[in-house]
């Protein structure tokens, strides 16, 4: 029996019971669209996070002090003050795989300027910091090595600070006072947005003031030897492992750590951070998809149910077909195709529905949703597979019918 003939028979028998066919399909429609929407939302979240991580900069490596250990009481990561300004300078001079290095030391201060005051984060950095973080200046100039050497009191201010201190004013050239020390604003940072993670949870990266590292160390910090963190960027992300090894080597030597002694600092690469977050969202996406998959399964059971009813109703038809020469395999294929057509059409409708729903989520709720071609293909294959899986039992039941009994069936 030819395939188009089978499809024709399937179509006519499904159209004969339009309402029933639609209701049966509904299970698959809902199941498929639930899976597709869940995965699309998960993928969207993942893309969001990846975008934020890439906003961290290019090929970034972050070096942080290790956990402190004071007479057996261990603090958290970064609690120890072990990274020094000298480490930063060694890295810059000796690490051949690093394009740029910048130490950073932060403190939270009440800042006065433009007739207002604002509590914000002051971070001392090297001029290369902007390059590492891929952060542009909206206006003005970056400070220079010379500012670093002479510990000039200059500042670059973030957009949030601009809004809070200099609303409606030209910030460049203005003076801000940090702990009563006047700083001249020489540049405005471009908007970077919410990091979504990092220091203090959902940190507003624009709520910051950058000053030369030496200025911060000598005029704002209590101890001018230690930095809280060192940022670096590798020339090539593929060499991040080698770069990490180089960093290890230099800092271990600086800290006079002997073999077998643990690092008193740790290095994280951007790849690692990306992987950590990706695996989390991946797990979430899988979980959501799996839960939605349950509804797909229920939809499949619905198909099986209706197909069983259909086989009973059409016992006589099966008998006629067998009497005129249909083989068991012909009957099996016929019912299997009906189940597959049901589930596949349901799958297609489900994909259309989920596309509409994702569009709604994006347009009205501003959520990022990504429907990958892959997931569409998988959804179609899975719905066809459901048709086969749940259609097989009823189809076998039909194929096994004895023609004599089937013909006598009322």
């Amino acid at each position: 029996m030819k395939i188009f003939k089978l499809l024709e028979v399937a179509q006519s028998s499904l159209l004969k019971n339009k309402t029933r066919s639609l209701l049966t399909m509904l299970g698959i429609v809902i199941g498929v669209s639930a899976v597709v929407v869940m995965v699309a939302v998960g993928k969207g979240a993942q893309a969001n996070i990846e975008e934020r991580i890439s906003a961290l900069g290019t090929n970034v490596l972050m070096i942080r002090p290790g956990s402190g250990d004071f007479r057996g009481v261990r603090g958290g990561a970064g609690s120890r003050r072990s990274l020094t300004y000298a480490d930063e300078q060694s890295l810059r001079e000796e690490a051949t795989l690093l394009a740029a290095v910048s130490g950073s030391v932060s403190s939270q201060e009440q800042v006065v300027g433009g007739g207002q005051n604002w509590f914000t984060t002051i971070t001392g950095v090297h001029p290369d910091f902007l390059e590492i973080r891929a952060w542009e200046l909206a206006d003005g100039n970056n400070f220079t090595e010379r500012d670093l050497r002479s510990r000039t009191k200059v500042a670059l201010i973030g957009q949030t600070v601009v809004e809070n201190l200099f609303e409606g004013q030209e910030p460049i050239g203005q003076t801000i006072r940090i702990r009563n020390t006047p700083f001249r604003v020489i540049g405005i940072l471009e908007e970077k947005g919410d990091s979504g993670f990092g220091r203090g949870g959902g940190g507003d990266q624009d709520d910051t003031i950058l000053v030369p590292l030496t200025t911060a160390l000598y005029r704002l910090a209590r101890d001018h030897r230690y930095v809280s963190m060192i940022y670096a960027s590798a020339y090539d992300m593929d060499q991040s492992v080698e770069a990490e090894a180089q960093i290890d080597e230099i800092i271990r030597r600086n800290h006079k750590l002997i073999d077998g002694q643990e690092n008193d600092f740790n290095v994280r690469t951007q790849t690692e951070i990306t992987e950590t977050f990706s695996s989390t969202t991946q797990a979430l996406t899988t979980l959501l998809g799996a839960i939605a998959g349950v509804s797909l399964f229920v939809g499949g059971v619905g198909i099986m149910n209706i197909m069983l009813v259909s086989v009973t109703e059409r016992t006589r038809e099966i008998g006629i077909r067998v009497a005129v020469g249909a083989r068991s395999s012909d009957v099996l294929t016929q019912f299997l195709i009906e189940a597959v057509v049901l589930s596949l059409v349901g799958g297609i409708l489900g994909i259309l529905l989920s596309w509409g729903f994702c569009k709604f989520l994006t347009d009205s709720l501003g959520m990022t949703t990504i429907i990958e071609t892959r997931i569409v293909v998988i959804a179609l294959v899975v719905s066809a597979a459901i048709g086969i899986f749940f259609g097989l039992y009823p189809a076998q039941k039909a194929a096994k019918l004895d023609p004599i009994d089937a013909l006598r069936h009322e």
């Binding site: 006629i320 077909r321 009497a323 005129v324 020469g325 083989r327 068991s328 395999s329 023609p403 013909l407």
Partner: protein, 246 residues
Amino acid sequence: MQPVIKTEGLKKTYFLAEPVHALRGVSLEIEAGEFVAVMGASGSGKSTLMNIIGCLDRPTEGSYWLDGIDVSGLSRNEQAEIRNHKIGFVFQGFNLLSRTDAIENVELPLVYHRGKHIKNPKKMAIQCLERVGLGDRTDHHPAQLSGGQQQRVAIARALVNEPALVLADEPTGNLDSRTSIEIMGLFQELNNEGVTILLVTHEKDIAQYCKRRVEMRDGVIVEDEKIEHRKDAKYDLENFHGFTGI
């Protein structure tokens, strides 16, 4: 010339709580071009015999050659193929597919035809419908046809694969007497054209239109005779008055 049907000592036993011997050794030979009526009360074994002759069932014992082929030990699939190629079925309850039109109903055996490719099944179906006098009703659905017309569609379906044998199981059982005579007339016409027909009936009147009568009782053939005073459906129809009621 070999017989269309040749059975030797056909036995069929149903193994229920107590074994039921539906057939106890039936030997029958039917030549091409014959028109045989199988008669018998219910329980006589005629249905079982029909099922075996129709390759819907297999004998417990004995052999059966259909058109020269030993079909007593065939598998289900092989039986299906034999039914498809060699046998045309006509049932008491017409057994048409309700949601398909006459052409598609007649086409049905061709849909399951294996082997040589059928070029124009639709054309063959229409030719068969014309042969049974329904050339003007090819696109009608069973519900739009009278009982007699439905049975004609069923007969057309039985003819479409050019079978060696047409097997009719109580073909007039659901029809009024006038239509019954019409259908028997159609069978007589087809038989005159050379179609071999085996017909099951319990009505003596209907059997009178055939050429040979086989009577069954308790699983064996008790009578097998040529029909004397054979009735002619054409003549009967011309002189049909029926019962007009009082």
